[in-house]
């Protein structure tokens, strides 16, 4: 792990009765690409604005390189923000927009023009110095905004929904561009987004936020592979969810999850790790690419509807199976998306190659299963 650059402790911001940011702890590291992911209104923008200095926290601390930032005005913070709307100065030319921050710092003329040139090269936008913002395309405006924020070599670059205002094609291009930039300048990037694809594509580490709290922080892969709560699992990537209640198998202390039409044996260490007790609500998360759908020979799949009690262990057990019927298949190019209605009404989606060869056509009786490490037990935090 590299050095921590920003440390947030117990940060709280209330608007009236509502806590927009509620007792948040977070460490941001040197030279990482960090994403704050959450739906609109979850407090991520408020958190970002407190980092930039536009909102004052009601409680808690933000330190940057060990220095307390609370009470420091935005113009004395060594971090810069790229606004969602870019907020270019409409009356200034591109070069003057980029030069603005340097001029405010009293940097000499020659150095200003050298560094403005470098910054525009960095974002691959040379030759437009004399244009005004309204003469630029959306993608060009974003590059100017990036150059303007990077030219001061901030310790941290904050980006508010950086790709939201762009067309799909330019958005994909800019995703790569942002990654490249972050690698080449070696500055910590913090991006705020409601778009999980954006978070997955850009970030090294992600914090999933909901109603002012951070549900889980970690490397993207970890959050995707080992979410601890249902909200986290569904916030990142597609997920099949089997919801149930934790209980002990009759006469034993082996934990299991009971759904309306199925029971799945659980791994005790995992259950203890999540501090789940009998009676607690939990869910099993299956990623579509790790979900295995197998056609049942003889078509007797749903005869036991409502009692499809195929037991399976979530971790370490043999390949598990639930029964169901294919409701739809969608060709994705190279693979199919197969939707299966499980006996209790839950829909499960699997990504399958060669669906037709495997007789996975609408109406087919199937079992739904997963590979030993393909399912994750999570706390059901969705009420």
């Amino acid at each position: 792990m590299s050095e921590s650059i920003i440390r947030i402790e117990g940060l709280t911001k209330r608007f009236g009765e509502v806590a927009a940011v509620d007792n948040v702890d977070l460490d941001l590291q040197e030279n990482e690409f960090f994403a704050l992911l959450g739906p609109s209104g979850c407090g991520k923008t408020t958190l970002l604005r407190m980092l930039a200095g536009f909102e004052t926290p009601d409680a808690g601390r933000i330190t940057l390189d060990g220095r307390d930032l609370v009470g420091v005005p935005p113009y004395r913070r060594p971090l810069n923000l790229m606004f969602q709307t870019y907020a270019l100065f409409p009356h200034l030319r591109v070069a003057d927009n980029v030069a603005y921050g340097l001029r405010m710092d009293g940097v000499g003329k020659a150095e200003v023009s050298r560094r403005v040139g470098e910054a525009l090269d960095l974002v691959r936008l040379p030759g437009l110095e004399r244009r005004r913002p309204h003469q630029l395309s959306g993608g060009q405006r974003q590059r100017v905004a990036l150059a303007r924020a990077l030219v001061k070599r901030p310790r941290v670059l904050l980006l508010d929904e950086p790709l939201a205002a762009l067309d799909r094609e330019i958005r994909l291009e800019m995703q790569l561009e942002l990654k490249r930039l972050q690698h080449s300048v070696g500055i910590t990037f913090v991006v705020v987004t409601h778009d999980q694809e954006e978070a997955l594509a850009l970030a090294d580490r992600v914090a999933v936020m909901r109603t002012g709290r951070i549900l889980q922080v970690g490397p993207v892969e970890e959050l995707y592979e080992r979410p601890r709560a249902l909200s986290v699992a569904t916030a990142l990537g597609e997920a099949n969810v089997l919801r149930g209640v934790v209980e002990h198998a009759e006469g034993t202390d082996t934990p299991q999850l009971r759904g309306t039409s199925w029971v799945i044996r659980l791994d005790r260490a995992t259950v203890d790790g999540l501090a789940l007790r009998p009676g607690d609500r939990a869910a099993i998360v299956l990623r579509p690419e790790r979900t295995v759908v197998t056609a049942v020979a003889g078509g007797d799949g749903l005869t036991g509807m409502g009692v499809g009690m195929d037991a399976a262990a979530v971790t370490g057990g043999p390949e598990a199976a639930l029964r169901g019927r294919v409701s739809e298949t969608i060709y994705l190019g190279g693979s199919h998306k197969v939707a299966v209605d499980v006996a209790d009404g839950t829909q499960v989606v699997a990504r399958v190659q060669g669906a037709h060869e495997a007789n996975l056509v609408p109406g087919a009786q199937v079992t739904v299963g997963w590979r030993p490490d393909g399912a994750v037990l999570v706390v059901d935090d969705r009420g």
Binding site: A52, Y75, A87, P90, Y100, G101, M104, A149
Partner: protein, 265 residues
């Protein structure tokens, strides 16, 4: 499609109506301008082109003095009212969001001038003449004009502020400019068209304002009060010449302000 709905007679009637309105508006002005060049000075007979009346205006010292006074009052009023009105607009838009307060601020715009004039005069007599022993003069005209001009400037600037994207101010703060520099570098340039338009309106209103100036001028004369005293015994050809000059200035100002507004949008 809407204009196609009006055809034939209806269309002809509307054209006629437009012609009548324009004639009604501009004929008197054309007549005044024409008469100002009439050698005889009589409104009844054209006796030849001449600039004599303009020459006589230029030699009329009391009129020139009054014109100078009006410029002083106008410029002083414009500067003070523009600064205060702009600040007022900023305050109204960004701090106290109270419709009640808005109404109070804008009331001077709709109070009849005569009522406002009487009120100011009574107040000045009490506060300045009686208590401070000051004589009313141009300064009290400036004070009065500022009082109502602030509201006009504030209205115009506020419209501009309404459509203002505050994130550019935050961007400026974020890039290292403090609040004051942000105001100068970002806010003011963005609202400048509104401020200039407000200033032009303030100057125009002050320039030809008669009633309030008449009540609060003490023994000084402004251009309108001077012209008024000249026409008490009939319109002289000199007055026609003055009117024509002022007309020329007004048209120039209006065109200028439209250009400024146009280039801003």
């Amino acid at each position: 499609m809407a204009d196609r709905a009006i055809r034939g007679w209806g269309r002809r009637f509307l054209r006629l109506e437009l012609g009548v309105v324009l004639a009604f508006l501009y004929l008197p002005i054309v007549v005044v301008a024409g008469l100002s060049f009439n050698k005889s000075g009589l409104p009844t007979a054209w006796t030849g082109f001449s600039l004599d009346w303009y020459a006589s205006v230029v030699q009329n010292e009391s009129l020139l003095g009054a014109f100078g006074n009006t410029l002083i009052v106008g410029v002083a009023t414009t500067i003070i009212a523009t600064v205060l009105g702009t600040l007022l607009a900023l305050g109204l838009e960004r701090t106290v969001k109270s419709p009640f307060l808005y109404t109070f601020v804008y009331v001077p715009m709709i109070i009849p001038d005569i009522v406002f004039a009487i009120a100011l005069l009574s107040f000045y007599n009490l506060a300045f003449t009686a208590m401070l022993n000051l004589k009313l003069g141009l300064w009290s005209v400036v004070l009065s004009h500022v009082t109502f001009d602030i509201a006009f400037v504030a209205v115009v600037v506020r419209t501009r502020l309404r459509h203002f994207d505050r994130s550019i101010e935050e961007a400026s703060l974020d890039l290292g400019a403090n609040e004051l520099r942000t105001f100068w570098n970002v806010t003011l340039p963005a609202i400048l068209p509104g401020v200039v338009a407000g200033a032009l309106i303030a100057f125009t209103l002050s320039f030809d304002e008669f009633i309030i100036a008449f009540f609060t001028k003490g023994t000084s004369e402004t251009f309108p009060t001077q012209v008024y005293s000249m026409v008490r015994f009939g319109v002289t050809p000199e007055v026609n010449a003055i009117a024509t000059v002022v007309l020329g200035l007004s048209i120039t100002l209006v065109l200028a302000s439209q250009r400024i507004r146009g280039s801003a949008d």
